[in-house]
Amino acid sequence: MDQNLYRKIILEHNESAFHFERPDTFDVELNAQNQSCGDSFDIYLSIKKDPGTEGSYIEDIHFTGSGCALSKAVTSILLKKIYRKSLIEAKTVIKDYISAMSSDDNTLPIDDELLVFIPFRDKTSRKECCLFSASTILKYLES
């Protein structure tokens, strides 16, 4: 794998992650942990009813914690993707990403920025770095 991958996107998000702080107020707090190494992020969501529809949407989302550049970048990008999305849309984004990371299917509709993580699905030692935050968020969205 080319180290440029780190440089272009992963390092940017590692350095300046999306909403990487604990907000003053939130409705839901999730803890995402990589059991294999102890990396851990707390994810904070503010959920609001959408007056125009029956459903709810993610009004705001933040995270804190510590992890490798890869896990921090994944979490940062995923949070950015689902920010201000309805819960149904957010679930689709996360599900598609997990599916893409868990299969050989290259046709799944995931965003360009998330494509950077696809090569890691064949790296046993790093795959979980790319998945543990996503799995935690999905579990919440499906609950």
Binding site: M1, Q3, Y6, R7, L11, N14, E15, C37, G38, D39, S66, G67, C68, A69, L70, K123, S125, R126, C129
Partner: protein, 425 residues
């Protein structure tokens, strides 16, 4: 610095920088060739066959046991050498087969915070069986190994379990452990030594140490497979119960099924002892079919080690380690994780742990791996120590006789590249 032994390791013909010998050693051509010969010509299970194949297999396994007894300076000879599935199994065997009874209702076990998980968790489980039992953990991070252990010894301590060489600091604790053993035995306390990281750094002499238990891990010393080797003092071995039981460990099972009422066997732990007669010595612990090839390879591994000499291994590793530490200290972006007061040169084995400031150890380990530079990243199975040091993980480079200055230079060059990569905004 020598590359004399590098050609003994065929895998290094590939472009590989292997700095992970504390995880497992590379396997020398000598061992691999012998094993290929044996597995292609004859092999049998143990104690179950006749004929030349069976004879040869028995001979090779017995010879391996004798070589181990001699290699470890084993009081009581080869009868005290037990083969286990791995080193961790050996610790559990001692925990449940002997220490559980010795602890009584309120005994304590004493360890240090540099022990790896396998030298903590089995003891933790054991003390959890009774409310008044406890685990005492000596904090050695201030550089006071001996004092921190001695200060926790009291009348309730029944076992002290220590690593001869630590997983993270890589310090050889031999001289301190000798003093601790004397004090422990003066107070009738048992001592277990986990020597998994030690055989290529320390000439182990069980007779001199007067140990109760010792374990080594064969795959870290050139053998194939993962077989653990457990020494149990002949003062203890026949009082130790097989914590796991099965075929090959008992001489007879005195049950006449035709005399059973309703074909039902009623048995409790006392009557079971009458029905079942365990073999003596190592036989009672080696359950089921043994991994004979793995075991035999230990004998050849010892041949290889002794053809060079443990002292020579230690000298080469120390020379390489000194160079590695010197190079790492030149990098201002590296934090070394060293045992405080580690001035005594002979106390270093072949391990150094470190971090690159501001970069997660897994990112560094992964990028090094992409360049075929292999070392370990993470908690090193030593969370107690790293948590005490408030370090969330680290890199560990561990050397073998096959490493050269070029390997160390490659590592330093790549660490510098990674630092530059992460420094670019």
């Amino acid at each position: 610095m020598t590359d004399k032994y590098r050609s003994d390791f065929k895998i290094l013909d590939q472009n590989l920088v292997y700095l992970d010998s504390a995880a497992t050693s590379l396997k020398p051509k000598y061992v691999l060739d012998r094993m290929e010969e044996i597995s292609g010509s004859y092999i049998s299970t143990l104690s179950r066959g006749f004929g030349q194949n069976a004879e040869n297999t028995e001979y090779l396994v017995n010879t391996t046991r004798e070589k181990l007894a001699s290699f470890l300076g084993c009081l009581g000879g080869s009868n005290s050498i037990i083969f286990t599935p791995n080193a961790t199994s050996a610790i559990n065997l001692v925990a449940y087969g002997y220490v559980d009874r010795v602890l009584g209702t309120d005994g304590s076990i004493l360890v240090t915070n540099e022990e790896h998980h396998s030298n903590i968790l089995p003891w933790m489980r054991l003390v959890a069986k009774s409310f008044d039992r406890s685990l005492k953990i000596a904090d050695i991070t201030k550089g006071n190994y001996l004092e921190s252990v001695l200060s926790l010894i009291d009348d309730r301590v029944k076992l002290i379990s220590l690593s001869l060489v630590g997983n993270v600091y890589g310090r050889i604790n031999l001289e301190d452990i000798k003093i601790i053993i004397k004090e422990a035995h003066r107070r009738d306390i048992l001592v277990f030594v986990d020597a998994a990281q030690a055989p290529l750094s320390v000439k182990i002499d069980i007779k001199d140490l007067d140990l109760d238990f010792l374990v080594i891990s064969s795959h870290k010393m050139f053998a194939i497979g993962n077989t653990g080797v457990l020494y149990v003092s002949d003062r203890i071995i026949n009082d130790m119960l097989p914590a796991i039981i099965g075929g090959g460990t008992v001489s007879d099972l005195k049950i006449d099924v035709t005399s059973l009422e309703n074909s039902t066997l009623k048995v409790d732990i006392n009557t079971m002892d009458k029905i079942v007669t365990c073999f003596d010595n190592y036989h009672r612990f080696e359950i089921g079919t043994q991994p004979v090839l793995d075991i035999i390879s230990i004998g050849y591994a010892i041949d290889y080690i002794e053809s060079i000499g443990v002292d020579k291994f230690h000298t080469i590793n120390q020379e390489n380690l000194a160079y590695l530490i010197q190079r790492l200290k030149q990098l201002d972006f590296v934090n070394l994780i060293e045992y405080p007061n580690s001035k005594e040169d002979r106390s270093l084995s072949s391990i150094i742990s470190f971090n690159i400031k501001g970069i997660h150890c897994h990112d560094v380990g992964f990028l090094l791996g992409e360049k075929n530079i292999c070392l370990r990243s993470g908690m090193q199975c030593a969370s107690l120590l790293l948590n005490s040091l408030k370090v969330p993980g680290c890199l560990r480079a561990s050397l073998g006789i096959y490493n050269t200055q070029d390997d160390i230079d490659s590592l330093v060059e790549e660490l510098t590249n990674i630092h530059i990569l992460f420094s670019k905004k």
